[in-house]
Amino acid sequence: MSDELDRIRREMHSVLQPEGVRPDDSLKITRRTFIHGSLIFGAATVGQTFAWWPLLNTLDIAHAAEAPFKFAWISDTHLYPRSLNTRFVDKVVRAAQEVQAMDPPADFLIFGGDLAQLGKIEELELGVDLLKEVKIPKHYIPGEHDWYLDMGKKWGELFGRPNWTFDHKGVRFIGLDTVSRGPDYWTAKNMTPEERMGHMATLDGTVAGPWAGVGRDQLDWMEKTLADWDKTKPVIIFSHNPLYEYYPPWNFWVRDWREVHEVLKPYSKVTNIHGHVHQVLYNEIGTLRSIGMLATSWPWPYAPEGVPKLTKPMIRVDPGDPFDGVGWEKIDVAATDEIKTEYIMWGRKEVFVQSAEDYDKNVSEIIRPRMADNMWPY
């Protein structure tokens, strides 16, 4: 596995990162720490049991918007029916309350996929219900957990098209569907919809294969969508999966990253914000900047290889605290042409590792893919 990953990684770097190419110099990143108002709200309501005073780290990215505005991101809520798992419900409630309490308010909320855990109508409808707390406009992209029970039928009824675009105050926003074009692994094996969903819902499963992709039709659509956009003006692309190769065995990538980059290459200020990884991630691929977001449900450990060198890892979480290592994000587009991405990680003074021992890869780890899912009698 590692040899193949090494080969892909070398190819990606040679294709996407020729010498001297990197995101526009105006997109500078700084880190700072400050007290965040929405968590003071959290402390006053549901936070009594958590004796923290939240200090948050931020990424500041210069950009070029016409007017200042903010938007919020929530993703990877992985809701089960309320009767089965109340912790996940509590965390969506908290995120929704905090987004709604933003002052000044956010212009809109992006929901970055995996609203449901097993794609059930009940789970998707629960998500819609909980997010009604957020009164600002909401835009949804799908995650694989939302899709593979009924192949997106219910999701489409609730949220419409899975890919979309709009312009807002000088920024072109694009929402991509990176989940619906998985190769058919179910027909030949006569899987029930529940079995199909089960394999898709297992991050380290070996049956669903390289399901994450943008697809030629959607790439053409994106190319057309960007055709009339000034190449030096900002573009922000939302996707469930990262748009580069990080760790294919967990679909921490899109398999057609080469083609995605070909479409985006002419544009100098592109930022991709993605979910799926349930962790702090930062990368620069050619002229594309990429930021990974937290889940509200649970954090994933970093993959055993391929963590981008530019990522300052998030802190190793306490598995005994369901509010640790998870949260939501606030993205602030300032009048000074800055975009500030703020990780609102509940229960933490420090989002990023402070010492080697804070990093989950501090312990030696060489792991291998599972085997039992390929032995089932299909």
Binding site: P304, V363, I366, I367, R368, R370
Partner: protein, 156 residues
Amino acid sequence: MTTRSKFRLPLRRFALLGGITIAAVFAGPSSAHKDPVTPAQLRAYQEVFMEQVRKGDLLFHGDQKMAEQLGVAEDLSKTGMACAMCHPMASDTHPQSFPKFQAQMAKFATLRDMINWCIEKPNQGVKIDPESEAMKALEAYITWSNTGSVLQPGKF
């Protein structure tokens, strides 16, 4: 007299041990474990191990049928969560670091202690018998998946 009796005791012991040794030498060849290992035996031993790995893999990934078969379906999780949801490919389980002081339990703990802690806390389930087949299968899968990780007992 005294000198002779002191001598006799070791002599008697020697005779007894000698007798056992001679008997073992004659009886011994019938014991298979004295023979060089055969490929068939190795295959059999490996099959026993991999069968437990397979069962552990299924339990770790929330397979209901296997949990029922091993009598732990009501115990492993009451939230819908399975071990693999936080530990894909058994990552971040660090079996090679046990036994160690485990901060969550505030005690010196084994991997089995930690598995039971995860069942009880994040999964809100019920602890399983540390000697049960289910526990051994989970342990087999976790250690198998971490084959290659360097032993670091006690490491945080």
